[in-house]
């Protein structure tokens, strides 16, 4: 939220545009709600009572600050004498970084006097986090989830229901995250007086990309201070997985003006970067408009959104946040692809070497770090955002590694 005084000053960007990206490409019916949200957030972010209330909730409820863990056995497997550090967002309440944004927006919802929140979810992490905050704040909660995702994340659906949320399976379009966002936007247009759309990533119309980034920027702010305090240096590279890009921008943002720190994001390459079945929007997409913002979009020549593919529901999204599009175009961050197979191998490796089972989303960043380790000078340091834990993915992992019904050992 604070801006650096360094000449580049990339951290000071606060929308509505990031270069040519961002904006508000939404129906006029939503503009009043976006204006109210922008105004409420602009006041709140400098209001000491808001700042302290948020910090207190993070301390007593989320479990912040999250740890930094150096993973020596995993790094040994990576080779080349690299040192690898994990920012442990998996240890947050609800098991991922998503709670950072949800708690922030719940406080904003309360300030706006709204009593109902709606959310989209892919993997279910954001839906669970939203249902959790709704329970804590006493809001009515409806979560839209692609029907395909409700099947591959059935346990998260049960968690949301147990928390008191209504989960609506979305059958339109490709029945995944993008269609869940469409349904949430339709609900919002119809119920904007009482309802806040608690968008879960750094995409969407202004002010969402900026506000959601700010709520997650605590990840990088903590990590940067922890690296300096506990280890006495900044990492050579910071990395994270990217779907919409919220955990990645949360980590990257604090490092944007540290010019010696390389920034690398890993997108889902699905079946592989040489196949059309992927979700690597920044690698294969083109600039366009989706879900209210201009950014990179996986689309055909007519501007029809192409369905993305990834083993990870949370990365299975054909769009990406506009700030990432800008960071790519100005060359401040690099974005690469990791296939399903590479991610699953990394998931197993971290589990076996460190006793930490990561979310499949997060495993893309781990696999990326393993590749980077081989390219970097010997002894380089890599900080990875361990954005979520893998409990929710056990069914997918069990099937992938054939661990059920007397299956072989992985």
């Amino acid at each position: 939220m604070s801006s650096s005084s360094k000449p580049t000053n990339l951290r000071a960007q606060s929308g509505p545009y990031f270069g040519e990206f961002g904006g508000r490409f939404v129906p006029e019916s939503l503009i009043a709600a976006l204006d109210q949200l922008t105004e409420t957030y602009e006041h709140a972010k400098t209001d000491p009572s808001f700042i302290s209330e948020l910090a207190e909730l993070h301390r007593t409820y989320t479990g912040r600050p999250s740890l930094i863990t150096e993973v020596k056995r995993f790094a040994e497997a990576a080779g080349n004498n690299v040192r690898i550090f994990l920012k442990r967002e998996d240890l947050n309440h609800t098991g991922s970084h998503k709670i950072n944004n949800v708690i922030g927006q719940a406080l904003i919802t309360k300030r706006m006097g709204k009593t109902r929140v709606i959310a989209e979810t892919g993997a279910g992490q954001h839906g669970v986090a939203t249902a959790t905050a709704a329970a804590l704040f006493g809001f009515d909660c409806v979560v839209y989830m692609g029907e395909v995702d409700t099947k591959r994340q059935a346990l998260n659906v049960a968690r949301m229901k147990l928390l008191g949320a209504e989960v609506i399976p979305v059958t339109s379009g490709s029945a995944t995250l993008k269609d869940a966002i469409n349904e949430a936007l339709r609900d919002w247009v119809a119920n904007v007086d009482t309802t806040h759309y608690l968008l879960g990533t750094v995409a969407g119309p202004h002010p969402f990309p900026t506000m959601v980034r700010d709520f997650h920027s605590v990840i990088g702010i903590e990590a940067r201070a922890q690296m300096l305090e506990e280890f006495g240096f900044l990492p050579d590279v910071v990395t994270a997985c990217i779907g919409g890009g919220s955990n990645a921008i949360g980590l990257f943002h604090a490092f944007l003006d540290d010019q010696d720190v390389r920034i690398v994001g890993f997108e889902a390459a699905g079946d592989g970067m040489d196949t059309p079945r992927n979700a690597a929007t920044l690698n294969f997409g083109k600039p366009g408009v989706l879900h209210g913002a201009k950014s990179y979009v996986l689309q055909d020549e007519d501007g029809q959104t192409i369905e993305s593919h990834s083993i990870s529901a949370g990365l299975d999204y054909p769009g990406v946040g506009p700030e990432h599009a800008w960071l790519k175009d100005i060359g401040r961050a690099e974005y690469r692809g990791i296939s399903d197979a590479e991610a699953m191998d990394a998931l197993r490796l971290l589990s076996r070497t460190e006793g930490i089972i990561p979310a499949i989303e997060t495993a893309h960043a781990l696999a990326g770090a393993l590749k980077l380790a081989k390219e970097l000078p010997s002894g380089s340091t890599i900080l990875i955002n361990l954005s979520g834990r893998g409990d929710k993915d056990m069914e997918t992992a069990a099937r992938y590694f054939d661990l059920l019904d007397g299956g072989a050992n992985a």
Partner: protein, 265 residues
Amino acid sequence: MPSKTAAALEANAEAGHGSLIGYFPAGYPTVEASIEACVAMCENGLDVLEVGVPYSDPVMDGPVIQAATVEALANGFKLRQTFDVVRAITERVSTPVLVMSYWNPIVQYGVERFASHLAAAGGAGIITPDLIPDEGAEWIAAAEKHDLDRVFLAAPTSTQERVNNAAEKSRGFVYAVSTMGITGAREELDELARKVVGSVRQAPTRQNTAVGIGISTGDQVAEVNGYADGAIVGSAFVKAYQSGGIDALSAKVAELASSLDTRNN
């Protein structure tokens, strides 16, 4: 040249007769069938036609239009066929033909190129449901250059200042959103529609305004024309087509158009 759309609305208003504006998706169920459906609508009393461009992520549309446009895309509709549809219609009828499109297809085609091809096909302009005037500089310039109508929206929650801007930046008419919701027929038309139309009337720029979203009956068409310059009907026409093809669609258009005559008799 003055707006053909505005001229049609204003001539009807002068004659003490309101206007009926109707939507149908291009390429639904096929390109040929959509041309025939649109021509039939115009021949049965429609005053302005809106040809919808099918799009993969139509956030303003309810289930009826979503299902129709999904089917059009599944049947192979391509964006460039929008111009074939518009050309085929304008060669056969004189009704002004607007295109209604979400913004991304136009961005990908090229804003200037889309405007130029639409004008060449005889199209009157574009309704842009997810483009607000604040983001519309490139489109407004292209519309000026190619003499096209640009229809922006005004909503019940829009401030007077925003409505003023929509009125100033629109040509043809301002699309008054009647209710806080997506397209699809509703039994009771919101009083909110009167409020939005009232705001457009108060704008410093004199601009026509037509009410859309939720209109499906002759009574509603007549009522809306009592205070606005036109009533926009979409889902009800698509539903009529689904229930009985061109005959049912033609009958529905004729029924709603006759409600305007009835009001004057």
